[in-house]
């Protein structure tokens, strides 16, 4: 267990800090190991947020999670949850299978943007259309990280990747896919939001979104998705600091932050059909 203590009272004779002085601890659901993620990658932050939220809500012991194909397949090495691997893009279908035979489970799917928005578009659209009571954490870093930084459907126009060496051109490679907005149109979607891990303030907001997406599955038996804009410094050809800056300055112009739909607070958002 890693404890970072407030040591302003380090001169105190006792070695144990008073409980109220504890300002940071590793969540119980997060394994005490180093991750394989690259420096500056956002997956670690998203994992931690999930561990905190599931811990706060007491959902860990009844969670069945689905791991994607891509860098985050190893989520099961870091999150102390039951996990099943899905074929590339199929996490929402795997989660559907779990959901239908385990009515009491909390069902979580964790996907990247190549996984969810390219090869898995049919599975995510239809899980959402059916209103499956699952929570999807969709980490969008705009690139295929694990395979070496190729263009994803979410890659920004003009962005250089190993498969768009001159920058993504709409004429040949099409436009970035705003899939969370697309999903938010479906009446089966209880909650859809987009957060970011760019800075502490957005991390806090994203945690609130993840919490809401989990609560909606439990309380409303509805489909909920949180897209988390994230970094891939290696794939982007940037330092971690540059990547964080890019995520703050450039990415939200294409992918605006905020709650897109919350049908249990605002049942008839302008852009979608009432449930």
């Amino acid at each position: 267990m890693t404890l970072i203590r407030d040591d302003r009272r380090a001169s105190r004779p006792s070695t144990e800090p008073a409980p109220e002085r504890l300002v940071y601890r590793r969540p119980d659901l997060l394994s005490d190991v180093s991750t394989h993620y690259c420096p500056g990658c956002g997956h670690g932050i998203v994992h931690r947020l999930l561990a905190e939220v599931l811990g706060d809500l007491g959902l860990g012991p009844r969670t069945i999670a689905v791991a994607p194909v891509g860098c985050a397949v190893f989520a099961y090495d870091y999150l102390r949850l039951d996990f099943v691997e899905a074929p590339h893009g199929r996490a929402p279908a795997v989660a559907t299978g779990v959901r239908r035979v385990r009515p009491d489970a909390f069902v979580l799917a964790y996907q990247g943007d190549g996984d969810l928005a390219a090869i898995g578009t049919a599975e995510i659209v239809h899980a959402a259309a059916r209103g499956e009571a699952i929570t999807v954490i969709f980490v969008n870093n705009g690139i295929y990280g694990m395979t070496g930084g190729q263009m994803a459907p979410t890659t920004l126009l003009g962005q250089r990747t190993t498969s768009t060496p001159g920058g993504r051109e709409a004429r040949t490679a099409g436009y970035p896919l705003p899939i969370t907005e697309m999903l938010a149109l479906l009446p089966g979607v209880g909650y859809a939001a987009r957060g970011s891990i760019a800075d502490p303030s957005s991390v806090g907001k994203t945690k609130a979104m993840i919490r809401r997406a989990c609560e909606i599955q439990v309380a409303e038996r509805a489909f909920a998705i949180v897209e988390v804009l994230s970094t891939c410094p290696i794939g982007w050809g940037m330092t971690p600091r540059e990547a964080a800056r890019h995520l703050v300055d450039d990415v939200p112009a294409t992918y605006p932050l905020g709650v897109i739909v919350d049908r249990f607070r605002d049942p008839a958002p302008a852009a979608s059909t009432p449930r």
């Binding site: 860990g60 199929r90 299978g97």
Partner: protein
């Protein structure tokens, strides 16, 4: 003293697709996932009506990719799962079949075969033999394949298929064809039921125990080789214990026809006509296509003048027959494709030709 009343024949007339579906239900199937495709759509329709009324899971998926990965999830979560499709849909299911073999997930998958390749036809065929028995998806794995030749046998093999799948932690394919799916036959309505699925590895939430992971990824080559060796040992175990076949009229046979499924029924009629004409012909009907009854065929071939393989394909199982026979006897082949079914007299013609060509072969029935 009263004697028990004689029960009337309680058999009921059932369509193959519906009988397979009901057999799965009686065997304790917890969840069904499918996608409409001819000639197996009635199976999905039966499940659509019956599963919800029993409080069990039914999903008509967005595709066969969706259906089979839903099956993967439900199986990982401890359920007894059925999925079904026909040839083009089975191609889409190849991906998850490989994942489920790698993750050692039990599932029963029914393929009601139709003519191929491509969109092909909706007529009956056996042209997915290679696909079913030689791996289906990517990677080093095997899947037990059970091939019924009647609707009553299909019913029995559904429960056997679940049992095999769960005992060995493997996907199992029930390989039928369009005729077996669409025909109606009288069957005994008392189907076998199985005790609920039980294991110590499936996912229910890590409550009071360490987390469990169902995976096929073993990134270190050293680890994957160990895993593949484990799978290989399991497949050898299956091959040693799960071969199923039926022989008919083989005692004095000089020629054996080898056929499965619908082709075996055509062959049976042809054999009866050959016997009427004085030709000593018998039938070897493989029920498990993998593991294949190779040892039986090798033993028989040593004393036969010829083997005649009949398939609703351009010649797929015949390759396994030739491998088994190892040149000990000539192997003749007759196949029809595209949804065409050979007439008994076509098969009889091939038997007669084989008989004539091998007239001077020494045989010891």
């Amino acid at each position: 003293m009263m004697t028990a009343p004689t029960l009337p024949d309680e058999r009921v007339l059932m369509k193959g697709n519906e009988a397979i579906a009901e057999a799965a239900i009686q065997a304790g199937c917890d969840a069904y996932f499918g996608y409409p495709i001819t000639p197996q759509a009635e199976l999905l329709e039966w499940m659509a009506r019956r599963m919800p009324e029993l409080g069990r899971a039914f999903v008509q998926a967005e595709s066969e990719l969706g259906a089979i990965t839903m099956a993967l999830g439900a199986s990982a979560a401890g359920a007894r799962v059925l999925a079904s499709s026909s040839s083009p849909g089975m191609s889409l299911m190849a991906e998850a079949m490989s994942y489920m073999a790698g993750s050692e997930l039990p599932v029963l998958v029914v393929n009601v075969m139709r003519g191929g390749p491509g969109l092909g036809s909706i007529g009956p065929a056996q042209s997915d033999y290679f696909q079913a028995t030689k791996g289906h998806g990517h990677g080093d794995y095997r899947v037990p394949v059970l091939a019924p030749s009647s609707i009553a046998e299909a019913i029995a093999l559904v429960a056997d298929g679940f049992d095999l799948a769960e005992r060995y932690r493997t996907p199992v394919i029930l390989l039928a064809d369009g005729i077996l799916g669409q025909a109606m036959e009288p069957v005994d309505p008392h189907f076998r039921s199985l005790p609920p699925r039980h294991d110590d590895w499936s996912l229910s939430g890590a409550d009071g125990r360490p987390p469990r992971v169902v995976r096929s990824l073993h990134l270190r080559p050293e680890d994957l080789e160990v895993h593949n060796d484990h799978l290989g040992a399991k497949y050898r175990e299956i091959a040693a214990h799960e071969v199923r076949w039926v022989g008919e009229r083989l005692d004095d046979a000089e020629i054996a026809v080898v056929a499965y499924g619908t082709a075996a029924r055509v062959a049976r009629t042809a054999i009866a006509r050959a016997r009427d004409a004085g030709l000593a012909v018998g039938l070897v009907r493989p029920i498990s296509l993998w593991p294949f009854p190779s040892a039986v065929l090798a033993r028989l071939a040593a004393r036969l003048r010829a083997l005649v393989v009949v398939e609703l394909s351009a010649g797929q199982m015949v390759e396994d027959v030739r491998l088994a026979v190892e040149g000990q006897a000539p192997v003749f082949f007759h196949g029809r494709t595209g949804g065409m079914v050979p007439a008994p007299d076509e098969v009889l013609g091939v038997i007669r030709r084989a008989w004539a060509i091998t007239a001077d072969r020494e045989v010891t029935p």
